[in-house]
């Protein structure tokens, strides 16, 4: 069934259809539609809704529900996500599944409340302390927001690891048509085996007591955990990379962009191709794991890459690593909550091609 829906509300519907059981959050713009929606809906369904006293408390409430093996989520925007980083590090160290959503706004500091993509580094590098990663999904339309939210719990449980969904404030506010029955935009998470719940805390009835911890003081134990996580991350990289490639086969230049930037880049690509240029688009859907191999393969033929981001240049570093010297990588972006412009992308493409 098709319906007109706002990005932030599509997220709520996706999470509910995906089996969300508890939601904790603290108010912050531009994502307040989410908690308003959940406040109305979740309690009626017998699920948990709680407005926390801070983002610090919210992420730790998520941690509390996650240790019981139930599906918990929090949503916030950039400054709030910064406050959650300690908790996210613990969630990764304790291997707890949950979903965290960042509707990004301009920074640094208090910044503004416009849409931005300035938290790419924070999201993809493990924004807290210690060696860890979580899966980062970057939807680019309202339909994808719905589908990613719906499947994110399964993905989190499959790997006992947090999943983060990030999109900019503009996409969160965008109203567009979504079709829940459409196959488009689905992650199609594959389960090879049944999800393991042998670790959850629910009271030690008819079993030995369990503990959940990341503190490992005995010599060698923490190193062992880190190698175990490394192996998990390797599997995620092997199985969960998602990327959309358009017109890359015979392109002279590929645009590389995700989220809202990818939408603007796509319309620039169409205009340029109509003018006779050969332009392709690489749209990473998982920002971690990054489609490194896929981009590297494209670079066998394509020798110019223009990365488009709503920041000062963050994903461009990953594209350079992926291209690995096989071609030239250039950057166009606007920081501070400014939207990238189609005309400026076109101008940059033409300049880059004529070099």
């Amino acid at each position: 069934m098709k319906k007109l829906i706002q990005g932030n509300i599509a997220l709520c519907e996706g999470a509910i259809d995906g089996g969300l059981e508890a939601y904790y959050a603290y108010p912050i713009t531009p994502q307040n539609e989410i908690s308003a929606y959940f406040a109305k809906v979740l309690s009626k369904q017998g699920k948990v809704f709680l407005q926390a006293e801070s983002e610090v408390a919210a992420i730790n409430m998520v941690l509390g529900t996650a240790v019981t093996g139930h599906r918990a989520m929090t949503t916030s925007s950039s400054p709030g996500i910064s406050l959650m980083q300690e908790g996210i590090s613990y969630l990764c160290g304790c291997e707890l599944p949950c979903v965290i959503v960042n509707v990004m706004r301009g920074g640094p500091g208090l910044g503004n409340i416009s849409g931005s993509q300035q938290d790419y580094f924070q999201s993809t590098r493990g924004g807290g302390h210690g060696d860890y990663y979580h899966i980062v999904l970057a939807p680019y339309d309202v339909g994808e927001i719905y589908e990613f939210a719906k499947e994110s719990f399964l993905l989190a449980e499959k790997y006992r690891n947090p999943v983060m969904i990030i999109f900019d404030g503009y996409l969160g506010q965008t109203m567009e048509v979504m079709d829940k029955d459409s196959q488009e935009g689905r992650l199609n998470v594959k389960l090879e085996e049944k999800i393991d719940k042998s670790w959850v805390l629910d009271g030690c009835k008819s079993r030995e007591p369990r503990k959940i911890r990341s503190l490992l003081m005995v010599e060698g134990m923490l190193e062992e955990l880190n190698w175990k996580l490394y192996e998990k991350y390797r599997k995620i990289k092997e199985n969960e990379v998602r990327v959309k490639l358009e017109n890359v086969e015979d392109a002279d230049l590929c645009l590389v962009a995700y989220g809202m930037s990818a939408r603007v880049a796509k319309s620039a690509m169409i205009k340029l191709n109509n003018e006779g240029y050969k332009i392709g688009l690489i749209r990473p859907i998982t920002l971690w794991p990054f489609p490194e191999k896929e981009i590297n393969k494209v670079a066998d033929k394509v020798k110019k890459f223009l990365v488009v981001e709503m920041n000062l240049g963050q994903m461009v570093d990953d594209v350079k690593i992926a291209v690995c010297g096989k071609g030239e990588v250039s950057f166009y972006g606007r920081p501070g909550g400014a939207l990238v412009k189609e005309s400026e992308i076109i101008e940059n493409v033409k300049k880059f091609l004529s070099k």
Partner: protein, 255 residues
């Protein structure tokens, strides 16, 4: 060890039975530390109330994080100061389980003050066991929010001063003014009498949760000889003489 034989093998007296709430494992706490006593009191109350298989406990950051090695029920770790938020996330999704946090003075009254106040204010149906020994033990003895005026610590080498460091926080009195706080009591573990009274406070606080009455907290004045740089016996005497003067024992609130 359940039974101790007397010299006459025909008479066997039960002198001490270890609670089923504790694993049969020696503690690694320092000599004279109060955690062993408080762990045992909690374990005994859990056993007496028949809730061992329902418990999900939240351990703090600090020495007592190792509670998860000693208690014989489910325990999770939490970031420093966050146990009340973690406990909220557990109790809200599993209201039929029994959820308590075990926290020290730094964890509860400094870095975790916000989480404490708001869990109490929401009257979360959880219980907090708050061990107050007036010092950061695991990090080698810095000033805590409950350190007495004039008390020497690693970071107040000439004694705690009001103008620089402020006053020791009376957690029970502070929490008791919140409407959400249902049961607030302060005990100590320095004498057999105090130990028994404290156990009755813990029992009452746990019963409150079972009866869905809302938020309860029991503060327990305890000993940290290593952090306070005193002999074990001296620490007990100091708690009895000095600490109780500022932190009076008794039930502060019961509604």
């Amino acid at each position: 060890m359940e039974k101790i034989s007397s010299e006459n093998p025909s008479i066997e007296k039960t002198k001490f039975i270890k609670s089923k709430g504790l694993k049969d494992k020696p503690h690694n706490y320092c000599p004279g530390c109060g955690h062993g006593i408080v762990h045992r009191l909690v374990a005994e109350v859990v056993e007496e109330l028949g809730i061992r298989e329902k418990v999900i406990a939240v351990a703090p950051v600090g020495c007592a994080v190792f509670a998860y090695d000693y208690w014989n029920f489910d325990v999770t770790e939490a970031p420093h100061g966050r146990p009340p938020a973690v406990a909220t996330g557990i109790k809200r999704i599993l209201p039929e389980n029994f959820v308590f946090t075990y926290q020290g003075d730094g964890d509860l009254a400094a870095i975790g003050a916000a989480e404490l106040i708001h869990a109490a204010n929401r009257s979360e149906n959880i219980t907090i066991i708050f061990v107050n020994n007036t010092v950061y033990g695991m990090t080698s003895g810095q000033m805590a929010p409950t350190t007495l005026l004039g008390q020497k610590t690693l970071t107040t080498p000439h004694g705690r001063e009001v103008l620089r460091d402020g006053y020791p926080i009376k957690v029970c009195e502070l929490i008791s003014v919140l409407d959400g706080a249902r049961y607030v009591a302060r005990g100590s573990v320095t004498t057999p009498k105090n130990v028994l009274t404290t156990k009755s406070y813990i029992k009452k606080a746990f019963l409150n949760q079972i009866e869905n009455k809302g938020f309860s907290i029991v503060e327990i004045l305890s000993m940290c000889p290593a952090g306070l740089d005193m002999e074990p016996l001296e620490t007990m005497e100091w708690v009895d003489k000095e600490l109780i003067k500022y932190f009076p024992l008794g039930v502060v609130k019961d509604v």
